[in-house]
Every structure is written in C-alpha cells, then in structure tokens.
C-alpha cells in the first residue's frame, strides 16, 4: 500500500465523516419530515462511499458486497418512508 493511496483514502474518509456530521445537523434541525428523510438517504449514501474507499484502502473485495447491500437498504427504506409520508401507509 503506497503512501499516496493511503493518505488519499484517509482524506476522503475524513471528508465523508465531516459531511455526515453536517447532514446529521440537517436531519436533527430539518423543519419538516421530508428534510429528515432526504438527510437519512444521504447518510446511507455516505456509509456506502466509506465502505467503497475502505475496500480500496485494505485491498479487499468483501467491502463491495456490503456497500451494495447498503445501497439496496437505503433505497428501500427511503422510498418506503416517502410513500408513508405521502399516503399515510406504505402498501395500499
């Protein structure tokens, strides 16, 4: 592992952590429910990016499957929450 890639991965993960804190502030502060759902969807996306970067950093393919699962669960949960806010129930 070269110093270039490891330091760039550390920088990227630090940026994702800082961005997650900012999104978390929006999630707590968000004036209405749609702000909170949107912020939660973005938090899922940040976790996915962290796993992808760690997969490159540790030269391991297993992180990739976890990232794919997080993408799937993020889509399902945020669309279900949006449907719930829109109609009051998830499956009509």
């Amino acid at each position: 592992m070269s110093i270039w890639i490891s330091s760039a991965a550390a920088f990227a993960v630090g940026c994702y952590a800082l961005a997650s804190v900012l999104v978390l502030v929006r999630l707590i502060k968000g004036p209405r429910a749609q702000d909170r759902v949107f912020a939660l969807d973005l938090l899922y996306f940040h976790a996915l990016l962290v796993l992808l970067v760690l997969g490159i950093r540790h030269e391991n393919d297993t992180y990739f499957e976890a990232a794919l699962l997080i993408a799937l669960f993020g889509f399902v949960s945020s669309s279900a929450m949006a449907k719930f806010i829109l109609r009051g129930e998830v499956i009509e």
């Binding site: 890639i5 900012l22 749609q34 973005l42 993408a71």
Partner: protein, 121 residues
C-alpha cells in the same frame, strides 16, 4: 498480484480526494440552502461525482492489481443511477403534497386541476 505503477497510484489518489471534496461541498449546500426544493440540488453533486470518482478509482485500482478487468465497482453506480431518481422524485412529490395541504403561499398550483387529491385544501 502485480506491483502497482506510480501513475496509477496518483490517479487513484486524485479520484479519491476529488470524491471527498465533492461530497463535502454537497453536504455544506444541504446544510446552508434555505428551502427544501433548493436543498434537493446539492446532493446530486455527491450522488453523481462522488460515486463516479470512487467507482472509477476502484475499477482502475483492482484492474491493475489483479491484471484483469475488474468492473464490479461500476455496479454500484448503475444501481444508484436507477434508485436515486426514484427517491428524489418521490420526495419532491411529498414536499409538494404537504405544502399544498398546509396551504403555503409560494407553492405552484397543480398543472391539471382535479387529478391530485389535496388541491382544494
């Protein structure tokens, strides 16, 4: 397991750094913009540039390291390009619906009257 040439390391590092910067910019935009419809725009920067940069870095790195074409990080980008517009459009409809239900003054009227339920509220 081949040794990785220097230019590949530099390109992968630059892609990772730019992805981090894009995600940070989008989070700052999400925090600072004043309105929900304005706030929907900056995360598109993260969803496109952030994921594409990381996926390209992964493709390049694993392809060079294993001396074969490793395209699997691209699956994430393809999946996100299908799911993110669905979520975004659903949430935009949610915001429009709830604003009309609350009777906000700056909400645009529906294009075809009578099709959507809460228009008379």
């Amino acid at each position: 397991m081949t040794p990785i040439p220097g230019w590949v390391e530099v390109v992968v590092a630059a892609l990772l750094v730019s992805s981090g910067v894009f995600v940070l910019i989008s989070a700052i935009g999400l925090l600072r913009l004043p309105d929900f419809f304005l706030r929907m725009h900056p995360p598109a920067l993260a969803y496109t540039f952030g994921s594409w940069c990381v996926a390209l870095a992964g493709i390049l790195y694993f392809s060079v390291r294993e001396s074969r074409l490793a395209l699997h990080p691209w699956l994430i980008v393809i999946f996100l390009s299908m799911t993110v517009p669905v979520t975004t459009v659903l949430l935009a409809r949610v915001a429009l619906f709830r604003r009309r239900a609350a009777g906000s003054a700056d909400t645009p009227p529906p294009l075809s009257p009578g099709r959507e339920a809460p228009t008379e509220v």
